[in-house]
Amino acid sequence: MLKKLNEDAGHKDIPGIRIADADFPAPFRSGLEYSSPARGTWNIVHTGMLIPEAHEIYVCGAGCLRGVVLTAAEMGTMDRFSTVAIRENNLLDGDMEDLIIEGVSDILGKLPKRPPAVLVYTSCIHHFTGTDLDVVYDRLAERFPDVDFIDCYMNPIMRKSGLTPDQLMRSRLYMLLHERPQSDNAVAIIGNDLPTLEDSDLMRLLRASGLRIHEITSCRTYEEYQEMAESVLYISYNPDAAPGGDMLSERLGGRHHFMKLSFDMDEIDEEFDRLAEVIAEKCFSEKEGAEEKLIEALSVIRSEGRNEVSDAVSETLGLIGDTPVVIDYTYCPRPLGLARMLLDNGFNVTKVYADSLPAADRPSYEYLRENYPDLMIHPTVHASMRFASTENSISDAEEAASGCRVLAIGQKAAYFENTDHFVNVVEGGGMIGYNAITGVLRLMREAYNTEKPMKELVQIKGLGCEVCVR
């Protein structure tokens, strides 16, 4: 439990609103922001490290460097990470371009081996001082013709203007791909931090179709990464990856197909039908019998998937009964869709923690307002959320006696609810298709049966980022 430093401090009520009363997409007024200790989501350092052998260089003030350098240190990639510190005099001297060019050059001169690619992250300061980044990258390319440079950004000041930092970073991941002949036998799954699970329905379908599958999470070398460019089709299912997919399509000429990660079986069927159509068009136009094979695989996935979901729902509901279930937005991009699926199947979902409601979740929002109007939406960054964990805490003895008093899906929900019974997954965990439903139900059963050391686990940055350490 949190130690109280000021007996007078604290909000009497944890902020929250019934979904029936919540505005879309912003149910809460923005104000001072609190940062919970749950840290499993990835940041731009983790994501950039997905490019094998690439080196990251950040150019910013010490305060901004601090978080990224220690992200790299904690994930064991300091040999692929460097910094250039901006000092107060640089603001006055107007030498930002020189600072970047000379700083990056100095670092590349010191590295024991020249990296094939360098991600240079500039910051809010460069945006506000009007730094000429074109000149910077032109000079760097002249000095280091053997290195691929890509402009990356750590400019959170721009998070409400244009692409979000997350969307921007995911788009940069594929900007280093060089054009090469495309193969209609190759597809790329793009924009994910975590690998798509081999037993997910997407992978099953692609494998059954005999396609060569590229995903950045499985590339071990820069050359393997470059092989992604042979893909004729780029599939994304994280909404924040979609802008990058479009950019890639425009640049290399393959087709970008975005499929929704869904917890609704009818919608899953629709999404897989659409994907099958695109695969047939892009990959199988000249392959006899391939389309039939694809349709057959889809049919098997569908019938097996529906049966497995039915069994998993019965088993899970039988186990956890009316135990309150709470969800947070870090678990997956469509937390309301997940809540809807669980509520429709008889689970006692009581709260969703989300500061804003994702556009992709609009249909679920309308549905839940109509059918489950008392479902509560709680913010995670509201200033009063500082005290939510304390408000929701109980003694260790009570905790032990109560068993699973609340089951959390997602790290922030676990933290705010003060529970060790939680599903420790971010960003959907690489599950898509029916597998996204059976997967979460399996993880819920595990969480119900087995406590996890929440305090230790949620504070680890970038859950699953070991995939970047090569």
């Binding site: 401090a9 001072l32 010490a62 305060g63 978080g67 203007s161």
Partner: protein, 417 residues
């Protein structure tokens, strides 16, 4: 100067130093920045975040607010949160963008204070200096704003006790410059307290770990300040300016240094007590300098050179202790801010990787945070001394309590001759 770090970490920044210094005092600290500073601070710089409910927030500055100079949004947000959460004070610290837009911290703090009735302080940090700069500024602000002269009754009683007591009345000592960035959350602060008590001192306020704002408000009842990190120097200057209370700089690391430090504290406190009890104004001039305990003056007993990299006062104290206890030559490489006349003539200020590397060429032993190891010469023995302000939480469990365990630490690391 390239200002590069090809392979090492960077120190916590000034804005985080403000938050860390004020953390336990029951106030609300707001970083005026877009995003990122808050999670960086709470993840890497603040080991108390999960266990102590301090109110540290970020303003969430947006591009349009910065361009349009929309300070009203910030003021309204702070006033609203303060109305809900009842902080004892409000502190506002800045980031690179707010520094660039010329945000007036003191003026905005004034507006907030007049609207809420809650004391408010503005700290013009830029996110481009180290934590020492911010923490020092914050602790100075606390002294300036929340510490007043002792009450007349207290002074009368104290004078009476000093004059009539048959036994020596213990001197009271404040500890200035305590933050987890330099002292982590192991037993070090307790060991400092115990060391003072074992040497016959009373412990006054501890700025700012382990004392409430109310306890700190009585810091002027003390007779000397022990400045344990450069983060305490701003507060020390203000304590002298407001109350003429002098300070001694250093950490009781190692037996000989501890004795010298005790002696310096006792002599300094005695001077102050004389001044306070006699009321002679001329005595005050004798207290204008902050006293530094004896340095590395004994002749070296061997040719080895031990380089210590880190915060100025901790590194100086470790270096002195090694010199006193083993006779080895030592050199401090201070990578954070440290005012003039604290380090020894042969020590160096080394803010960048490029400054450090040449200074290590003749070192036979390097004592530093583990994240410095990649730039240390292979011929030198590397001894890990993790520092929260550099490596954050990564090596927290390995941070030693050098006040209590210096002898065993030197022995375990083969520093003793």
């Amino acid at each position: 100067m390239k200002q590069t770090a090809s392979v090492i970490s960077t120190y916590s920044a000034d804005v985080m130093g403000v938050c860390s210094a004020l953390y336990e005092l029951g106030g609300m600290t707001v970083m005026h920045d877009a995003s990122g500073c808050n999670s960086t601070y709470t993840t890497h710089d603040e080991p108390r975040w999960f266990d102590m409910d301090s109110m540290v927030y970020i303003s969430g500055l947006s591009e349009m607010e910065a361009i349009m100079g929309d300070d009203d949004k910030l003021i309204e947000d702070i006033c609203e949160a303060a109305s809900d959460l009842h902080p004892k004070f409000i502190a506002l610290a800045g980031s690179p963008v707010s520094a660039m837009t010329g945000f007036d911290y003191e003026a905005v703090a004034g507006v907030i204070e007049s609207r809420t009735g809650i004391p408010a302080l503005g700290f013009p940090t830029t996110g481009m200096n180290t934590y020492i700069h911010g923490a020092s500024m914050a602790l100075e602000g606390i002294v300036s704003r929340f510490i007043d002269d002792p009450s007349d009754e207290w002074i009368e009683e104290k004078l009476h006790t000093v004059r009539t007591s048959d036994e020596e009345v213990p001197y009271r000592v404040n500890l200035l410059g305590l933050t987890p960035l330099d002292f982590s959350v192991n037993s070090t602060v307790d060991s400092l307290t115990k060391w003072l008590e074992d040497r016959g001192f009373e412990v006054g306020a501890r700025l700012a770990m382990g004392s409430s704002l109310e306890e700190i408000g009585r810091a002027s009842e003390s007779e000397v300040n022990l400045i344990v990190s450069a983060a305490g120097l701003g507060a020390a200057r203000m304590m002298y300016r407001k109350f003429a209370i002098p300070g001694v700089i250093g950490l009781p690391v190692g037996a000989k240094q501890s004795d010298l430090l005790e002696d310096a504290l006792r002599r300094t406190a005695s001077e102050y007590r004389t001044f306070r009890t006699s009321g002679e104004v001329f005595e005050r001039s004798g207290l204008t300098r902050i006293k530094i305990h004896p340095n590395d003056l004994d002749p070296a007993r061997d040719e080895e050179l031990v380089a210590v990299i880190g915060e100025g006062i901790t590194s100086l104290s470790v270096a002195n202790a090694i010199r006193f206890e083993t006779g080895r030559r030592t050199r401090v490489l201070c990578a954070t801010e440290c005012p003039d006349n604290i380090l020894r003539p042969w020590d160096c200020m080394t803010p960048d990787e490029d400054d450090i590397v040449p200074k290590l060429s003749d070192a036979t032993v390097v004592i530093a945070d583990p994240l410095y190891k990649p730039i240390c010469p292979p011929h030198a023995k590397f001894i890990e001394l993790p520092h929260e302000a550099f490596s954050g939480r990564i090596y927290r469990k390995d941070i030693p309590d050098l006040i209590r365990d210096f002898d065993s630490w030197t022995e375990a690391n083969g520093i003793r001759l």
